[in-house]
Protein backbone atom coordinates (compact mmCIF):
# COMPACT_ATOMS: atom_id res chain seq x y z
CA UNK A 1 0.00 0.00 0.00
CA UNK A 2 2.76 2.41 0.82
CA UNK A 3 4.13 1.88 -2.67
CA UNK A 4 1.47 3.44 -4.74
CA UNK A 5 -0.96 4.93 -2.30
CA UNK A 6 -1.58 8.58 -1.98
CA UNK A 7 1.55 9.76 -3.69
CA UNK A 8 -0.48 12.41 -5.29
CA UNK A 9 -1.84 14.25 -2.31
CA UNK A 10 -5.54 14.10 -2.89
CA UNK A 11 -6.13 10.91 -4.75
CA UNK A 12 -9.67 11.45 -5.86
CA UNK A 13 -10.04 10.67 -9.51
CA UNK A 14 -13.82 10.62 -9.39
CA UNK A 15 -16.10 13.53 -9.52
CA UNK A 16 -18.87 12.69 -7.05
CA UNK A 17 -22.18 13.95 -8.28
CA UNK A 18 -24.45 12.24 -5.80
CA UNK A 19 -24.09 11.09 -2.25
CA UNK A 20 -24.31 7.29 -1.87
CA UNK A 21 -25.76 5.72 1.25
CA UNK A 22 -24.60 2.39 2.64
CA UNK A 23 -27.68 0.76 1.16
CA UNK A 24 -28.15 2.58 -2.16
CA UNK A 25 -29.01 -0.33 -4.40
CA UNK A 26 -29.91 1.16 -7.76
CA UNK A 27 -26.76 0.96 -9.91
CA UNK A 28 -27.95 3.89 -12.03
CA UNK A 29 -27.45 6.16 -9.04
CA UNK A 30 -23.90 4.89 -8.52
CA UNK A 31 -23.47 5.31 -12.25
CA UNK A 32 -23.79 9.07 -11.86
CA UNK A 33 -20.51 9.04 -9.96
CA UNK A 34 -18.88 6.24 -11.89
CA UNK A 35 -20.24 6.31 -15.42
CA UNK A 36 -17.47 4.23 -16.97
CA UNK A 37 -17.95 1.32 -14.60
CA UNK A 38 -21.72 1.59 -14.88
CA UNK A 39 -21.70 1.52 -18.68
CA UNK A 40 -19.56 -1.57 -18.69
CA UNK A 41 -21.73 -3.20 -16.03
CA UNK A 42 -24.75 -2.76 -18.28
CA UNK A 43 -23.00 -4.60 -21.09
CA UNK A 44 -23.25 -7.92 -19.21
CA UNK A 45 -26.38 -8.39 -21.31
CA UNK A 46 -24.13 -9.21 -24.29
CA UNK A 47 -24.20 -12.85 -25.35
CA UNK A 48 -21.20 -14.23 -27.25
CA UNK A 49 -20.07 -17.85 -27.44
CA UNK A 50 -16.57 -19.17 -26.88
CA UNK A 51 -15.59 -22.78 -27.49
CA UNK A 52 -16.60 -23.89 -23.97
CA UNK A 53 -17.97 -20.73 -22.39
CA UNK A 54 -19.58 -17.39 -22.97
CA UNK A 55 -23.21 -17.79 -23.95
CA UNK A 56 -25.40 -17.87 -27.03
CA UNK A 57 -28.79 -16.19 -27.34
CA UNK A 58 -31.69 -18.45 -28.20
CA UNK A 59 -34.67 -16.30 -29.13
CA UNK A 60 -37.99 -17.26 -27.56
CA UNK A 61 -41.47 -15.83 -27.56
CA UNK A 62 -42.25 -14.31 -24.19
CA UNK A 63 -45.25 -15.79 -22.43
CA UNK A 64 -47.26 -14.66 -19.47
CA UNK A 65 -45.47 -17.06 -17.17
CA UNK A 66 -41.99 -16.34 -18.60
CA UNK A 67 -41.41 -12.90 -20.13
CA UNK A 68 -37.83 -13.57 -21.31
CA UNK A 69 -37.25 -13.00 -25.02
CA UNK A 70 -33.94 -14.86 -25.06
CA UNK A 71 -32.55 -17.74 -23.06
CA UNK A 72 -29.16 -19.37 -23.33
CA UNK A 73 -28.51 -22.79 -24.83
CA UNK A 74 -29.88 -25.77 -22.90
CA UNK A 75 -27.07 -27.88 -21.57
CA UNK A 76 -29.46 -30.79 -21.20
CA UNK A 77 -30.01 -30.84 -24.95
CA UNK A 78 -26.30 -30.44 -25.58
CA UNK A 79 -25.57 -33.46 -23.37
CA UNK A 80 -28.72 -35.51 -22.77
CA UNK A 81 -26.91 -37.91 -20.44
CA UNK A 82 -27.13 -35.15 -17.84
CA UNK A 83 -30.85 -35.95 -17.58
CA UNK A 84 -29.92 -39.48 -16.54
CA UNK A 85 -27.31 -38.33 -14.06
CA UNK A 86 -29.78 -35.98 -12.43
CA UNK A 87 -32.83 -38.23 -12.78
CA UNK A 88 -35.40 -37.30 -10.13
CA UNK A 89 -33.99 -33.80 -9.54
CA UNK A 90 -35.15 -30.41 -10.76
CA UNK A 91 -31.93 -30.01 -12.77
CA UNK A 92 -33.05 -32.77 -15.13
CA UNK A 93 -35.89 -30.49 -16.12
CA UNK A 94 -34.02 -27.31 -17.04
CA UNK A 95 -30.33 -26.42 -16.95
CA UNK A 96 -28.78 -23.81 -19.17
CA UNK A 97 -25.42 -22.32 -19.94
CA UNK A 98 -24.98 -19.41 -17.57
CA UNK A 99 -24.77 -15.93 -19.01
CA UNK A 100 -24.01 -12.37 -17.91
CA UNK A 101 -24.84 -10.89 -14.52
CA UNK A 102 -27.65 -8.80 -15.96
CA UNK A 103 -29.74 -11.94 -16.34
CA UNK A 104 -29.24 -13.49 -12.93
CA UNK A 105 -32.52 -12.49 -11.41
CA UNK A 106 -34.82 -13.30 -14.31
CA UNK A 107 -33.03 -16.53 -15.16
CA UNK A 108 -33.54 -17.70 -11.61
CA UNK A 109 -37.13 -16.60 -11.44
CA UNK A 110 -38.15 -18.24 -14.66
CA UNK A 111 -36.12 -21.41 -14.80
CA UNK A 112 -38.42 -24.41 -15.06
CA UNK A 113 -36.70 -25.68 -11.92
CA UNK A 114 -39.00 -23.30 -10.07
CA UNK A 115 -42.00 -25.19 -11.40
CA UNK A 116 -40.96 -28.69 -10.40
CA UNK A 117 -39.89 -27.82 -6.86
CA UNK A 118 -40.76 -25.23 -4.26
CA UNK A 119 -37.53 -23.30 -3.76
CA UNK A 120 -36.61 -21.46 -0.57
CA UNK A 121 -35.74 -17.79 -0.29
CA UNK A 122 -32.15 -18.87 0.22
CA UNK A 123 -31.79 -18.99 -3.55
CA UNK A 124 -31.96 -15.24 -3.76
CA UNK A 125 -28.65 -14.72 -1.92
CA UNK A 126 -26.64 -15.11 -5.11
CA UNK A 127 -29.03 -13.82 -7.70
CA UNK A 128 -29.80 -10.30 -6.63
CA UNK A 129 -28.61 -7.21 -4.89
CA UNK A 130 -29.58 -8.37 -1.42
CA UNK A 131 -27.42 -6.21 0.81
CA UNK A 132 -30.00 -3.48 1.43
CA UNK A 133 -32.77 -6.07 1.80
CA UNK A 134 -30.83 -7.95 4.46
CA UNK A 135 -30.05 -4.78 6.39
CA UNK A 136 -33.71 -3.80 6.21
CA UNK A 137 -35.12 -7.22 7.13
CA UNK A 138 -32.63 -7.57 9.97
CA UNK A 139 -33.23 -4.07 11.27
CA UNK A 140 -29.62 -3.19 10.68
CA UNK A 141 -28.31 -6.65 11.55
CA UNK A 142 -26.94 -8.26 8.39
CA UNK A 143 -26.87 -11.82 9.70
CA UNK A 144 -30.37 -11.56 11.05
CA UNK A 145 -31.57 -10.24 7.68
CA UNK A 146 -29.82 -13.17 6.01
CA UNK A 147 -31.73 -15.57 8.23
CA UNK A 148 -35.05 -13.92 7.44
CA UNK A 149 -34.25 -14.14 3.72
CA UNK A 150 -33.50 -17.86 3.96
CA UNK A 151 -36.58 -18.64 5.98
CA UNK A 152 -39.18 -17.40 3.49
CA UNK A 153 -40.38 -19.11 0.32
CA UNK A 154 -38.57 -17.98 -2.84
CA UNK A 155 -41.36 -15.98 -4.36
CA UNK A 156 -41.86 -13.98 -1.20
CA UNK A 157 -38.19 -13.12 -0.97
CA UNK A 158 -38.25 -12.23 -4.62
CA UNK A 159 -40.40 -9.25 -3.75
CA UNK A 160 -37.73 -7.88 -1.42
CA UNK A 161 -35.22 -7.33 -4.23
CA UNK A 162 -35.12 -5.42 -7.51
CA UNK A 163 -31.70 -5.61 -9.12
CA UNK A 164 -29.16 -8.24 -10.07
CA UNK A 165 -25.89 -8.03 -8.14
CA UNK A 166 -25.10 -4.35 -7.93
CA UNK A 167 -22.38 -1.93 -6.89
CA UNK A 168 -23.49 -1.97 -3.27
CA UNK A 169 -22.90 -5.73 -3.00
CA UNK A 170 -19.20 -5.41 -3.79
CA UNK A 171 -18.28 -1.88 -2.76
CA UNK A 172 -18.18 0.33 0.28
CA UNK A 173 -19.84 3.46 -1.11
CA UNK A 174 -17.63 5.79 0.92
CA UNK A 175 -14.22 4.48 -0.19
CA UNK A 176 -15.17 2.26 -3.11
CA UNK A 177 -13.07 -0.41 -1.45
CA UNK A 178 -14.26 -3.95 -1.90
CA UNK A 179 -16.31 -5.47 0.88
CA UNK A 180 -17.87 -8.81 1.65
CA UNK A 181 -21.62 -8.55 2.09
CA UNK A 182 -22.63 -12.23 2.20
CA UNK A 183 -22.85 -13.92 5.62
CA UNK A 184 -22.58 -17.38 4.00
CA UNK A 185 -19.12 -16.47 2.68
CA UNK A 186 -18.05 -15.04 6.03
CA UNK A 187 -19.17 -18.19 7.80
CA UNK A 188 -17.68 -20.48 5.16
CA UNK A 189 -14.31 -18.76 5.26
CA UNK A 190 -14.32 -18.78 9.03
CA UNK A 191 -14.82 -22.56 9.03
CA UNK A 192 -12.23 -23.07 6.29
CA UNK A 193 -9.59 -20.91 7.95
CA UNK A 194 -10.28 -22.60 11.28
CA UNK A 195 -9.39 -25.91 9.62
CA UNK A 196 -6.01 -24.31 8.85
CA UNK A 197 -5.58 -23.19 12.44
CA UNK A 198 -6.58 -19.55 11.89
CA UNK A 199 -9.13 -18.47 14.49
CA UNK A 200 -12.06 -16.13 13.97
CA UNK A 201 -11.25 -15.14 10.40
CA UNK A 202 -13.09 -12.13 9.05
CA UNK A 203 -12.44 -11.30 5.39
CA UNK A 204 -13.53 -7.70 5.79
CA UNK A 205 -10.88 -7.30 8.46
CA UNK A 206 -8.17 -9.77 7.49
CA UNK A 207 -8.07 -10.12 3.70
CA UNK A 208 -5.59 -8.29 1.52
CA UNK A 209 -6.82 -6.16 -1.33
CA UNK A 210 -5.60 -8.78 -3.76
CA UNK A 211 -7.56 -11.50 -1.96
CA UNK A 212 -10.66 -9.34 -1.98
CA UNK A 213 -10.39 -9.26 -5.77
CA UNK A 214 -11.32 -12.95 -5.66
CA UNK A 215 -13.38 -13.07 -2.49
CA UNK A 216 -16.12 -10.81 -3.83
CA UNK A 217 -16.71 -13.46 -6.52
CA UNK A 218 -16.34 -16.31 -4.04
CA UNK A 219 -19.56 -15.16 -2.41
CA UNK A 220 -21.56 -16.76 -5.22
CA UNK A 221 -19.32 -18.81 -7.52
CA UNK A 222 -19.12 -21.65 -5.02
CA UNK A 223 -20.59 -25.01 -4.08
CA UNK A 224 -23.35 -24.69 -1.46
CA UNK A 225 -26.18 -26.44 0.32
CA UNK A 226 -29.18 -25.48 2.41
CA UNK A 227 -28.56 -26.46 5.98
CA UNK A 228 -31.33 -27.71 8.24
CA UNK A 229 -34.98 -26.67 8.31
CA UNK A 230 -33.93 -23.00 8.39
CA UNK A 231 -32.46 -23.56 4.94
CA UNK A 232 -29.38 -21.61 5.94
CA UNK A 233 -27.13 -21.04 2.95
CA UNK A 234 -23.94 -22.96 3.81
CA UNK A 235 -20.60 -23.44 2.06
CA UNK A 236 -19.22 -26.91 2.95
CA UNK A 237 -15.64 -25.84 3.57
CA UNK A 238 -14.88 -27.04 7.09
CA UNK A 239 -12.52 -29.73 5.76
CA UNK A 240 -10.96 -27.68 2.99
CA UNK A 241 -11.85 -26.41 -0.47
CA UNK A 242 -10.78 -29.30 -2.72
CA UNK A 243 -13.48 -31.50 -4.22
CA UNK A 244 -12.60 -34.49 -2.07
CA UNK A 245 -12.39 -32.40 1.09
CA UNK A 246 -15.89 -31.16 0.40
CA UNK A 247 -17.01 -34.71 -0.31
CA UNK A 248 -15.58 -35.76 3.05
CA UNK A 249 -17.63 -33.01 4.65
CA UNK A 250 -20.83 -34.30 3.05
CA UNK A 251 -19.99 -37.89 3.91
CA UNK A 252 -19.65 -36.98 7.57
CA UNK A 253 -22.66 -34.70 7.51
CA UNK A 254 -24.85 -37.19 5.65
CA UNK A 255 -26.56 -34.43 3.67
CA UNK A 256 -28.21 -35.51 0.43
CA UNK A 257 -29.78 -33.36 -2.26
CA UNK A 258 -32.14 -36.01 -3.61
CA UNK A 259 -32.69 -39.71 -4.14
CA UNK A 260 -31.62 -40.85 -7.56
CA UNK A 261 -34.68 -41.93 -9.55
CA UNK A 262 -32.94 -44.82 -11.29
CA UNK A 263 -30.66 -46.27 -8.63
CA UNK A 264 -32.16 -45.04 -5.37
CA UNK A 265 -28.79 -43.61 -4.31
CA UNK A 266 -28.77 -40.65 -1.87
CA UNK A 267 -27.00 -38.26 -4.22
CA UNK A 268 -25.52 -34.78 -4.19
CA UNK A 269 -25.58 -31.98 -6.75
CA UNK A 270 -22.36 -29.96 -7.13
CA UNK A 271 -22.79 -26.40 -8.32
CA UNK A 272 -20.41 -23.85 -9.84
CA UNK A 273 -17.39 -24.41 -7.56
CA UNK A 274 -15.27 -21.85 -9.46
CA UNK A 275 -13.78 -20.37 -6.30
CA UNK A 276 -12.88 -23.76 -4.85
CA UNK A 277 -11.38 -25.11 -8.08
CA UNK A 278 -9.48 -21.90 -8.81
CA UNK A 279 -7.92 -22.17 -5.37
CA UNK A 280 -6.25 -25.46 -6.35
CA UNK A 281 -4.58 -23.97 -9.42
CA UNK A 282 -1.29 -22.34 -10.25
CA UNK A 283 -2.89 -18.95 -10.80
CA UNK A 284 -4.24 -18.86 -7.24
CA UNK A 285 -0.82 -19.92 -5.91
CA UNK A 286 0.63 -17.01 -7.87
CA UNK A 287 -1.96 -14.68 -6.35
CA UNK A 288 -3.68 -13.97 -9.66
CA UNK A 289 -7.27 -12.98 -8.82
CA UNK A 290 -10.63 -13.58 -10.52
CA UNK A 291 -10.85 -9.87 -11.26
CA UNK A 292 -7.44 -9.94 -12.98
CA UNK A 293 -8.84 -12.17 -15.72
CA UNK A 294 -12.56 -11.44 -15.65
CA UNK A 295 -12.41 -7.69 -14.99
CA UNK A 296 -9.01 -6.70 -16.40
CA UNK A 297 -7.87 -3.10 -16.30
CA UNK A 298 -8.88 -1.18 -19.37
CA UNK A 299 -7.77 2.21 -20.47
CA UNK A 300 -10.63 4.62 -20.95
CA UNK A 301 -9.40 8.07 -21.81
CA UNK A 302 -6.84 9.09 -19.24
CA UNK A 303 -7.97 6.48 -16.72
CA UNK A 304 -7.32 2.83 -16.12
CA UNK A 305 -10.45 1.19 -14.84
CA UNK A 306 -11.57 -2.32 -13.98
CA UNK A 307 -13.69 -3.68 -16.80
CA UNK A 308 -17.10 -4.11 -15.18
CA UNK A 309 -18.28 -6.04 -18.19
CA UNK A 310 -17.62 -9.30 -16.33
CA UNK A 311 -17.33 -12.09 -18.93
CA UNK A 312 -15.26 -14.86 -20.42
CA UNK A 313 -11.60 -13.82 -20.70
CA UNK A 314 -11.54 -15.63 -24.03
CA UNK A 315 -13.46 -12.64 -25.38
CA UNK A 316 -10.75 -10.29 -24.14
CA UNK A 317 -7.49 -12.21 -24.29
CA UNK A 318 -5.37 -9.18 -24.94
CA UNK A 319 -6.20 -7.47 -21.66
CA UNK A 320 -7.04 -10.51 -19.62
CA UNK A 321 -3.92 -12.56 -20.33
CA UNK A 322 -1.32 -10.78 -22.36
CA UNK A 323 0.00 -8.31 -19.81
CA UNK A 324 1.31 -11.35 -17.94
CA UNK A 325 1.77 -13.81 -20.81
CA UNK A 326 3.81 -12.77 -23.78
CA UNK A 327 2.48 -15.42 -26.16
CA UNK A 328 0.17 -14.46 -29.04
CA UNK A 329 -3.57 -14.35 -28.72
CA UNK A 330 -3.96 -17.47 -30.82
CA UNK A 331 -1.41 -19.30 -28.75
CA UNK A 332 -3.15 -18.31 -25.50
CA UNK A 333 -6.46 -19.48 -26.87
CA UNK A 334 -4.86 -22.74 -27.98
CA UNK A 335 -3.41 -23.31 -24.50
CA UNK A 336 -6.80 -22.82 -22.92
CA UNK A 337 -8.60 -25.01 -25.42
CA UNK A 338 -6.04 -27.81 -25.08
CA UNK A 339 -6.65 -27.86 -21.34
CA UNK A 340 -10.40 -27.65 -21.80
CA UNK A 341 -10.71 -30.33 -24.46
CA UNK A 342 -8.76 -32.80 -22.32
CA UNK A 343 -11.12 -32.08 -19.43
CA UNK A 344 -14.16 -32.32 -21.67
CA UNK A 345 -13.13 -35.70 -23.09
CA UNK A 346 -12.36 -37.21 -19.71
CA UNK A 347 -15.57 -35.88 -18.15
CA UNK A 348 -17.47 -37.75 -20.87
CA UNK A 349 -15.61 -40.95 -19.98
CA UNK A 350 -16.39 -40.50 -16.30
CA UNK A 351 -20.04 -39.84 -17.08
CA UNK A 352 -20.46 -42.97 -19.18
CA UNK A 353 -18.89 -44.87 -16.32
CA UNK A 354 -21.10 -43.54 -13.55
CA UNK A 355 -24.25 -44.00 -15.63
CA UNK A 356 -23.23 -47.62 -16.15
CA UNK A 357 -22.97 -48.01 -12.39
CA UNK A 358 -26.33 -46.31 -11.94
CA UNK A 359 -27.96 -48.81 -14.27
CA UNK A 360 -26.07 -51.68 -12.64
CA UNK A 361 -27.53 -50.73 -9.28
CA UNK A 362 -31.02 -50.54 -10.74
CA UNK A 363 -30.55 -54.00 -12.27
CA UNK A 364 -29.27 -55.37 -8.98
CA UNK A 365 -32.25 -53.93 -7.13
CA UNK A 366 -34.62 -55.52 -9.64
CA UNK A 367 -32.86 -58.85 -9.22
CA UNK A 368 -32.72 -58.83 -5.43
CA UNK A 369 -33.29 -55.65 -3.52
CA UNK A 370 -32.04 -57.14 -0.24
CA UNK A 371 -28.48 -57.59 -1.54
CA UNK A 372 -26.19 -55.98 1.04
CA UNK A 373 -23.78 -54.69 -1.63
CA UNK A 374 -26.46 -52.34 -2.93
CA UNK A 375 -26.07 -49.80 -0.16
CA UNK A 376 -22.32 -49.66 -0.65
CA UNK A 377 -22.67 -49.41 -4.41
CA UNK A 378 -25.10 -46.53 -3.97
CA UNK A 379 -22.58 -44.79 -1.78
CA UNK A 380 -19.96 -45.30 -4.48
CA UNK A 381 -22.31 -43.75 -7.02
CA UNK A 382 -22.93 -40.83 -4.68
CA UNK A 383 -19.21 -40.16 -4.44
CA UNK A 384 -18.36 -40.78 -8.10
CA UNK A 385 -21.22 -38.61 -9.26
CA UNK A 386 -20.43 -35.74 -6.92
CA UNK A 387 -16.79 -35.66 -8.04
CA UNK A 388 -17.72 -35.76 -11.70
CA UNK A 389 -20.37 -33.10 -11.20
CA UNK A 390 -17.81 -30.94 -9.40
CA UNK A 391 -15.81 -30.74 -12.64
CA UNK A 392 -18.82 -30.75 -14.94
CA UNK A 393 -20.53 -27.87 -13.15
CA UNK A 394 -17.34 -25.88 -12.67
CA UNK A 395 -17.60 -23.34 -15.44
CA UNK A 396 -14.04 -23.08 -16.75
CA UNK A 397 -13.98 -26.64 -18.15
CA UNK A 398 -10.85 -27.38 -16.18
CA UNK A 399 -8.93 -24.20 -16.93
CA UNK A 400 -8.98 -22.81 -13.39
CA UNK A 401 -6.93 -25.82 -12.19
CA UNK A 402 -6.07 -28.20 -15.02
CA UNK A 403 -4.28 -30.95 -13.11
CA UNK A 404 -6.72 -30.81 -10.22
CA UNK A 405 -9.81 -31.10 -12.43
CA UNK A 406 -8.29 -34.18 -14.05
CA UNK A 407 -7.41 -35.61 -10.64
CA UNK A 408 -11.01 -35.25 -9.52
CA UNK A 409 -12.20 -37.05 -12.66
CA UNK A 410 -9.73 -39.87 -12.05
CA UNK A 411 -11.07 -40.21 -8.51
CA UNK A 412 -14.60 -40.27 -9.85
CA UNK A 413 -13.80 -43.17 -12.18
CA UNK A 414 -12.10 -44.94 -9.29
CA UNK A 415 -15.27 -44.72 -7.16
CA UNK A 416 -17.33 -46.03 -10.05
CA UNK A 417 -14.93 -48.93 -10.46
CA UNK A 418 -15.24 -49.72 -6.79
CA UNK A 419 -19.01 -49.57 -6.96
CA UNK A 420 -19.19 -51.88 -9.93
CA UNK A 421 -16.89 -54.50 -8.47
CA UNK A 422 -18.67 -54.31 -5.09
CA UNK A 423 -21.93 -55.02 -6.78
CA UNK A 424 -20.60 -58.01 -8.61
CA UNK A 425 -18.59 -59.62 -5.86
CA UNK A 426 -15.55 -61.67 -6.91
CA UNK A 427 -14.67 -62.20 -10.57
CA UNK A 428 -14.89 -65.35 -12.69
CA UNK A 429 -18.39 -66.64 -13.20
Amino acid sequence: SDVTRKQDDALNPFYRVVELADTTTDPAIWGKNFPIQYDAYLRTVDMVRTRYGGSEAEPRTPTASDPRDTVSRSRLDANPRLRQMWAGYAFAKDFREERGHAFMLTDQEFTERQQVAKQPGTCINCHASTYAAMIRLGNGDLTKGFEVLNSKPYFETRKEVTHPVSCVDCHDPKTMQLRITRPAFMEGMRAYKASLGVKDYDPNRDATRQEMRSYVCGQCHVEYYFKGPEKRLTFPWANGLAADSILTFYQKDGHKDWTHAVSGAPVLKAQHPEFEMYNQGTHARAAVACADCHMPYTRVGAMKVSDHHVRSPMLNINRACQTCHKASEDEMRARVETIQSRTHTMAAVAMDAVLELTNDIAAAVRADSTLPAIARARDAQRQAQFLLDFVESENSMGFHAPQEAMRVLALSIEHTRRGQTLLRGGPAR
Binding site: L11, R205, R299, M303, K304
Partner: protein
Protein backbone atom coordinates in the same frame (compact mmCIF):
# COMPACT_ATOMS: atom_id res chain seq x y z
CA UNK B 1 4.55 4.93 3.26
CA UNK B 2 8.26 4.65 3.95
CA UNK B 3 9.55 8.18 3.88
CA UNK B 4 12.60 8.84 1.76
CA UNK B 5 14.31 9.90 4.94
CA UNK B 6 13.77 6.54 6.57
CA UNK B 7 14.96 4.75 3.47
CA UNK B 8 17.95 7.01 3.54
CA UNK B 9 18.82 6.26 7.13
CA UNK B 10 18.62 2.56 6.33
CA UNK B 11 21.26 3.12 3.71
CA UNK B 12 23.67 4.92 5.98
CA UNK B 13 25.77 1.87 6.83
CA UNK B 14 26.11 1.28 3.12
CA UNK B 15 27.39 4.77 2.57
CA UNK B 16 29.86 4.17 5.29
CA UNK B 17 30.87 1.00 3.51
CA UNK B 18 31.56 2.89 0.32
CA UNK B 19 33.56 5.52 2.06
CA UNK B 20 35.42 2.90 3.99
CA UNK B 21 35.85 0.85 0.86
CA UNK B 22 37.30 3.77 -1.01
CA UNK B 23 39.81 4.43 1.69
CA UNK B 24 40.76 0.82 2.27
CA UNK B 25 41.15 0.20 -1.40
CA UNK B 26 39.18 -2.92 -2.20
CA UNK B 27 35.82 -1.28 -2.85
CA UNK B 28 37.63 1.67 -4.28
CA UNK B 29 39.41 -0.51 -6.75
CA UNK B 30 36.20 -2.09 -7.94
CA UNK B 31 34.49 1.24 -8.00
CA UNK B 32 37.32 2.56 -10.13
CA UNK B 33 37.73 -0.32 -12.53
CA UNK B 34 34.01 -0.55 -13.02
CA UNK B 35 34.00 3.13 -13.69
CA UNK B 36 32.08 3.64 -10.50
CA UNK B 37 31.84 7.37 -10.91
CA UNK B 38 29.51 6.81 -13.82
CA UNK B 39 27.16 5.08 -11.42
CA UNK B 40 26.11 8.51 -10.43
CA UNK B 41 25.21 9.54 -13.97
CA UNK B 42 22.00 8.93 -15.86
CA UNK B 43 23.45 6.92 -18.71
CA UNK B 44 22.28 3.28 -18.96
CA UNK B 45 25.74 2.38 -20.10
CA UNK B 46 26.87 3.38 -16.63
CA UNK B 47 25.00 0.42 -15.23
CA UNK B 48 26.16 -1.88 -17.96
CA UNK B 49 29.74 -1.16 -17.01
CA UNK B 50 29.26 -4.30 -15.07
CA UNK B 51 28.75 -7.11 -17.48
CA UNK B 52 26.22 -8.68 -15.12
CA UNK B 53 23.96 -5.77 -16.05
CA UNK B 54 24.53 -6.35 -19.76
CA UNK B 55 21.58 -8.64 -20.25
CA UNK B 56 19.27 -6.09 -18.71
CA UNK B 57 20.74 -3.36 -20.86
CA UNK B 58 20.15 -5.25 -24.07
CA UNK B 59 16.67 -6.27 -22.95
CA UNK B 60 15.93 -2.65 -22.04
CA UNK B 61 17.06 -1.61 -25.51
CA UNK B 62 14.24 -3.76 -26.90
CA UNK B 63 11.68 -2.68 -24.32
CA UNK B 64 8.72 -0.34 -24.56
CA UNK B 65 10.51 2.11 -22.28
CA UNK B 66 13.84 2.43 -24.08
CA UNK B 67 12.91 5.86 -25.38
CA UNK B 68 11.15 7.09 -22.28
CA UNK B 69 12.91 5.76 -19.19
CA UNK B 70 16.51 4.93 -18.39
CA UNK B 71 17.64 2.56 -15.63
CA UNK B 72 17.80 5.37 -13.15
CA UNK B 73 14.33 6.59 -13.97
CA UNK B 74 13.01 3.30 -12.64
CA UNK B 75 15.61 2.11 -10.18
CA UNK B 76 16.49 5.25 -8.31
CA UNK B 77 14.19 7.36 -6.13
CA UNK B 78 13.50 10.73 -7.58
CA UNK B 79 13.69 12.95 -4.62
CA UNK B 80 17.17 14.43 -4.30
CA UNK B 81 18.21 12.83 -1.05
CA UNK B 82 16.84 9.39 -1.76
CA UNK B 83 18.45 9.48 -5.16
CA UNK B 84 22.04 9.74 -4.04
CA UNK B 85 21.55 7.59 -1.00
CA UNK B 86 20.15 4.79 -3.12
CA UNK B 87 22.84 5.17 -5.70
CA UNK B 88 25.51 4.97 -3.07
CA UNK B 89 23.93 2.05 -1.25
CA UNK B 90 23.30 0.14 -4.48
CA UNK B 91 26.72 1.10 -5.71
CA UNK B 92 28.35 -0.19 -2.57
CA UNK B 93 26.31 -3.37 -2.46
CA UNK B 94 26.79 -4.12 -6.13
CA UNK B 95 30.48 -3.32 -6.06
CA UNK B 96 31.00 -5.59 -3.13
CA UNK B 97 28.86 -8.36 -4.66
CA UNK B 98 30.63 -8.02 -7.96
CA UNK B 99 34.04 -8.22 -6.41
CA UNK B 100 33.19 -11.13 -4.15
CA UNK B 101 31.18 -12.87 -6.88
CA UNK B 102 28.50 -13.69 -4.28
CA UNK B 103 25.06 -12.94 -5.65
CA UNK B 104 22.14 -14.86 -7.03
CA UNK B 105 22.25 -15.70 -10.72
CA UNK B 106 19.88 -14.78 -12.33
CA UNK B 107 19.75 -11.56 -10.36
CA UNK B 108 16.78 -10.93 -8.08
CA UNK B 109 15.52 -7.52 -7.24
CA UNK B 110 15.37 -6.81 -3.50
CA UNK B 111 12.10 -5.91 -1.83
CA UNK B 112 13.37 -2.41 -1.14
CA UNK B 113 14.43 -1.85 -4.72
CA UNK B 114 11.15 -3.17 -5.99
CA UNK B 115 9.39 -0.54 -3.93
CA UNK B 116 11.66 2.07 -5.44
CA UNK B 117 10.73 0.88 -8.91
CA UNK B 118 7.02 0.82 -8.26
CA UNK B 119 7.09 4.32 -6.84
CA UNK B 120 8.64 5.35 -10.11
CA UNK B 121 5.95 3.66 -12.15
CA UNK B 122 3.45 5.73 -10.30
CA UNK B 123 5.57 8.87 -10.57
CA UNK B 124 5.24 8.73 -14.35
CA UNK B 125 1.83 7.13 -14.57
CA UNK B 126 0.20 8.88 -11.69
CA UNK B 127 -2.87 10.23 -13.45
CA UNK B 128 -3.53 7.13 -15.44
CA UNK B 129 -3.44 4.86 -12.43
CA UNK B 130 -5.17 7.16 -9.97
CA UNK B 131 -8.42 5.26 -10.39
CA UNK B 132 -6.96 1.85 -9.70
CA UNK B 133 -4.97 3.13 -6.76
CA UNK B 134 -8.01 4.83 -5.29
CA UNK B 135 -9.18 1.63 -3.62
CA UNK B 136 -5.95 0.97 -1.73
CA UNK B 137 -6.35 1.05 2.00
CA UNK B 138 -4.69 0.12 5.23
CA UNK B 139 -7.15 -2.69 5.86
CA UNK B 140 -6.12 -4.56 2.79
CA UNK B 141 -2.44 -3.83 2.72
CA UNK B 142 -1.12 -5.61 -0.35
CA UNK B 143 -1.67 -2.94 -2.93
CA UNK B 144 -2.11 -3.75 -6.53
CA UNK B 145 1.56 -4.01 -7.39
CA UNK B 146 2.39 -2.85 -10.90
CA UNK B 147 5.07 -5.41 -11.46
CA UNK B 148 2.84 -8.42 -10.95
CA UNK B 149 1.19 -7.59 -14.25
CA UNK B 150 3.84 -5.47 -15.98
CA UNK B 151 7.04 -7.33 -15.11
CA UNK B 152 8.30 -6.98 -18.65
CA UNK B 153 8.06 -3.25 -19.25
CA UNK B 154 11.68 -2.38 -18.44
CA UNK B 155 13.38 -5.46 -19.81
CA UNK B 156 12.15 -8.97 -20.56
CA UNK B 157 15.19 -11.11 -19.91
CA UNK B 158 13.31 -14.39 -20.36
Amino acid sequence: MVSPWRAGLGALPAIAAVVLGLSVGLGGYTFFVARGASYLRNDPAACANCHVMGEHLSAWEKSSHRAVATCNDCHVPHDLVGKYLTKLSQGARHSWAFTSGRFPDPLRITATDRRVVERNCVRCHSALTATMRSTDDRHHPATDSCVRCHASVGHWVR
